[in-house]
């Protein structure tokens, strides 16, 4: 198999399904064809798990005027694809009109494809095993405090094609590898964890994965209590800031949320959203990002979109339908989000491709040195993802934060609550860091210092 063969296969299935739809007298259809082959190997304290397989399926939207139906099937066999076409057609017939719908993509314009690495076709279970060995060798086996290790390595090649009865027939591919280490350190009954990961669209570096995870586990030993409840500045490491900001940016940039009046930033377009130092873009076309594709899942070319400029909210992110609803073009943000790694089972929604928060000038160490009393947050506190999307309130629990006193990290602290409000958080950015560590998530951010979080014990 080569990337060209893979692309041809996806396009052929999409094209065939378009022909089936015409045979069935379906007036308008969109065919989304997805395939991902992957191999995963993990070693959980000596327990090996290994799997491979190809996730394949087709998602079909049928339109009768503005009446829409969606159906999907796993696999590329003719009978279930035809079954899904009929089912989507049946649903469209009985559905009331969706006044927002503005038709399927009519053309096949593509942005540039991200980096593809054909060496990944040759990465098998044996190669992944060697990666795990190398990561494992980075752990100090003589340190008896390191009681548990969990390593994993994965390789995947995926792609999708979009075809419509209106004339679109386009495809996009991606490839990637990733590795992680998760380590538990124990001392005197106390437990501390550390993790680290690396990834790439090609072959990634294994350097420091095991070593970093074990160092992060060990530095959390010797925790002390935090007494009382205080409003304190908090310093968040780069990867942690990215995870933290993921939630407000997912809901706040949503074009569908804006149209449906449930976007908490809905009244802030062209208004001050954040401190003026904050600049944020959505970058769907950087060739090195894991999330980059030439087209979105409706067939619209990917692009860059400015979201926040000097603290002012400049744009939401749209797919075709929600962009049209407010007189805008799609920003190439139609993604089919859903659990289980089967995007073909979901209809497109407007979701960030890759949010990039622009860097500031201060290192993490500089930020810490400026804090008289505060908290260093090295990993995402538990429960932040459960924030209230309407009010923006969040309340979370951190078990591996550190107390900062007079510009120095003094000791790790036991369980604390970290509470605040996302709507206030962006106005409470005190410092934006100069570091921005790439992540596999749909957002990368430098470290940041925030004012105004309530810290309790």
């Amino acid at each position: 198999m080569s990337f060209d063969d893979f692309r041809d296969k996806l396009l052929n299935i999409s094209d065939s399904a378009i022909k089936y739809s015409k045979d069935l007298s379906i007036p308008s259809a969109e065919i989304f064809v997805f395939s991902q082959s992957s191999t995963d190997l993990s070693d959980q304290n000596g327990k090996i798990d290994i799997k491979d397989g190809v996730k394949q399926g087709v998602g079909i939207r049928v339109a009768i005027g503005k009446k829409l139906g969606f159906a999907s099937c796993t696999g590329f066999e003719e009978e279930p694809i035809k079954g899904a076409l009929k089912q989507a057609h049946s649903l469209a017939k009985v559905s009331p009109e969706n006044p927002l719908f503005n038709g399927f993509t009519p053309d096949s314009i593509r942005a540039n494809e991200g980096t593809l690495d054909s060496r990944l076709f040759d990465v098998d279970a044996i190669a992944l095993g060697k990666n795990i060995d190398e990561i494992s060798n980075q752990i100090d086996k003589n340190d008896k405090r390191l009681t548990f290790t969990y390593f994993g390595a994965t390789v995947s090649i995926e792609g999708y094609a979009v075809g419509t009865t209106e004339g679109c027939l386009s495809s996009t591919l991606s490839s990637g590898t990733g590795s992680f280490a998760y380590v538990i350190a124990m001392e005197a009954g106390e437990r501390s964890t550390g993790s680290w990961s690396e990834f790439s669209r090609g072959i990634h570096s294994l350097e420091g994965i095991g070593e970093t995870a074990s160092k992060r586990a060990l530095r959390g030993l010797g925790k002390k209590d935090f007494e009382g409840t205080e409003i304190l500045p908090t310093v968040w490491e780069s990867k942690t800031t990215a995870s933290f900001l993921l939630y407000p940016f997912f809901t706040g940039t949503s074009g569908s949320g804006y149209v449906e009046k449930r976007n908490p930033w809905g009244e802030k377009l062209d208004k001050e959203l954040a401190v003026k130092e904050l600049n944020v873009i959505d970058d769907g076309i950087n060739p090195d990002y894991l999330t980059t594709h030439a087209i979105d899942t409706e067939g619209t070319p990917r692009r860059k979109t400015t979201i926040v400029e000097n603290g002012v909210l400049k744009s939401f992110l749209y797919n075709r339908m929600y962009g049209h609803a407010v007189g805008k073009e799609s920003t190439g943000n139609a993604r089919r989000e859903g659990a289980g790694g089967t995007p073909f089972e979901n209809v497109p929604s407007s979701v960030p491709n890759k949010i990039i928060v622009q860097t500031g000038s201060k290192s993490l160490e500089d930020q810490i040195s400026e804090i008289d009393k505060g908290i260093l947050v090295p990993t995402l506190p538990l429960g932040i993802e459960n924030f209230n999307p309407i009010t923006g309130d969040f309340s979370s629990s951190s078990t591996d934060s550190f107390l900062i006193l007079k510009g120095q990290i003094v000791y790790p602290i036991k369980n604390i609550t970290v509470a605040g409000n996302f709507n206030d958080t962006l106005m409470n950015i005190q410092t934006i860091g100069s570091d921005r560590i790439p992540t596999s998530n749909p957002i990368d951010s430098p470290s940041m210092t925030f004012r105004g979080h309530t810290i309790g014990s």
């Binding site: 000596g46 409840t229 449930r262 969040f394 309340s395």
Partner: protein, 472 residues
């Protein structure tokens, strides 16, 4: 699908795996139909119909598993998957330091089909849409909402299982679920509330008054309005009455996962090697069950073909057992508990919960509130997270102050956190009323396998020393 054809395919997979060197092979076929309707502001935002079918093959070589799968429903596809699974197991075996072979057991041949009065496949799309319309009308009668959303979901299908022992098992999963939600913006204040649940039943579930669209819609409307005038919960450690939903989430997320035996045999779980130890007080009994008298999900077999029974994890505070697959059970010299479950044919089965709950006690709801005295009545939650040292945090999205034994004012979103191993020592009582949910929306996450259907809920639980947090 023709069941004889599917069983024949699975037998071919088993034979192919064995022919390629596997010492034991399990093959399973899922054929699921998953239908949803999303009605937002009277517009059908999404109506979808998903068919998810395919074959997964787990091959074992010296106690090392290898897994592969295929969506192809033909001999060539399933044999190729079996071949790959066998080769993966053989390749991985030399590096596996925790081999989990298991003894052979007698073959099982069985069919398990729940009694469904109004199967969703026999009803039209419009019948289900009408349920949502009735729910949203009930919201409008109770609140002038900015956004009204109704979601309906149904999941049904067939599961087939064959293994090297000659087992042939067929069973039928099913669930129906309906949620309605109201959002409101009034004088710059925002609020949201939701009601509804699912169950392994047919559409007759919504004929019951508590689960009718009229009642869940009215609840969502009333609760949303109520959220416009909330007080901050007092922070710090205090007594909490966790409602059925929240109590179920706490026992599932913070304790249930620690009892999954794959985490136990590797030493990752903090309750590894602690069988027989008193972890909680005498009032704490925790159960995992496949088919319960209280409803929830219907899970008669797991994905290794083990018949599901009732597993006592904790009894009167003492750790009695873990949630096993066949390999972990053999390694720990005990019986498998039918907890080997997979999200779909695209994933290997791993140790997962089924319907997990605190055993009911003898308190009425009024007695439980009185027992709290001054504290929080935490009813609804938004998500939940727990870590492997037993720490947990759940956000209470609908809750009330309890003052002098009376429920008084609604509270702002607050977090409830603590360490479950401490919490079990501070359970002060459970109510005699039990609600188990078999939800379509949401589910359990472990690694990449989310959302796995699980039953959640239980009695209401009085617990002390819960850390309540929130912005002031």
């Amino acid at each position: 699908m023709n069941s004889d054809y599917i069983f024949d395919l699975l037998h071919e997979a088993v034979e192919e795996g064995e022919k390629n060197g596997a010492k034991f092979v399990e093959a399973r076929f899922d054929d699921y139909q998953i239908n949803t309707i999303d009605l937002t502001n009277d517009i059908i935002k999404e109506s979808s119909s998903k068919r998810r079918r395919g074959t997964g093959v787990m091959a074992y070589y010296n106690g090392t598993p290898g897994y592969s799968f295929t969506p192809e429903v033909n001999s060539e596809g399933v044999k190729a998957a079996a071949n790959r699974a066998a080769k993966l197991a053989i390749t991985a075996d030399p590096r596996n330091r925790m081999k989990m072979e298991f003894i052979e057991r007698p073959a099982i041949k069985d069919k398990a089909v729940p009694i469904i009065k109004k199967h969703p496949k026999d009803y039209e799309f419009q019948d289900k849409l009408e349920l949502l319309k009735r729910g949203t009308i009930a919201i409008k009668e109770n609140v002038d909402a900015t956004t009204i959303q109704g979601q309906y979901g149904e999941f049904y299908g067939e599961k087939y299982f064959v293994n090297s022992e000659g087992s042939e098992i067929y069973w039928v999963p099913i669930v129906v679920d309906m949620r309605v939600r109201a959002d409101i913006v009034e004088n710059g204040k925002r609020a949201t509330a939701m009601d509804g649940m699912g169950q392994s039943q047919g559409l007759e579930f919504f004929d019951q008054e508590r689960n009718s669209p009229e009642v869940v819609g009215a609840n969502a409307g009333k609760w949303c309005k109520e959220q416009l005038d909330v007080v901050s919960a007092p922070t710090g450690k205090q007594k909490v009455l966790a409602g059925s939903t929240l109590g179920g989430v706490i026992v599932h997320e913070s304790f249930g996962h620690l009892s999954e035996a794959d985490f136990v045999v590797t030493g990752m779980s903090p309750i590894a090697d602690r069988l027989g130890e008193k972890l909680g007080n005498d009032l704490v009994t925790i159960i995992d069950e496949g088919v319960t008298p209280y409803g929830g999900w219907f899970f008669p077999y797991d994905d290794q073909g083990t018949k599901a029974g009732r597993t006592v994890i904790v009894e009167n505070g003492i750790l009695k057992g873990y949630l096993h697959d066949r390999g972990t059970a053999q390694k720990m010299n005990t019986e498998p508990t039918a907890n080997s479950r997979a999200l779909s044919f695209m994933f290997p089965s791993i140790c997962r919960m089924k319907n997990t709950y605190f055993e009911k006690g003898d308190l009425t709801e009024e007695e439980a509130i009185e027992m709290v005295g001054d504290g929080i009545y935490a009813i609804s939650w938004r998500g939940g997270t727990a870590s492997f040292d037993g720490n947990f945090l759940f956000n209470c999205s609908r809750g009330y102050l309890i003052e002098k034994g009376e429920v008084t004012k609604p509270i702002k979103t607050a977090s409830l956190s603590g360490n479950v191993l401490e919490l079990l020592k501070h359970v002060e009582g459970t109510t005699k009323n039990m609600i188990l949910r078999g939800n379509f929306f949401g589910g359990c996450g472990k690694g990449e396998q989310f959302p796995l259907p699980v039953g959640m809920g239980g009695p209401e639980v009085v617990m002390d020393q819960v850390l309540v947090g929130g912005a002031q």
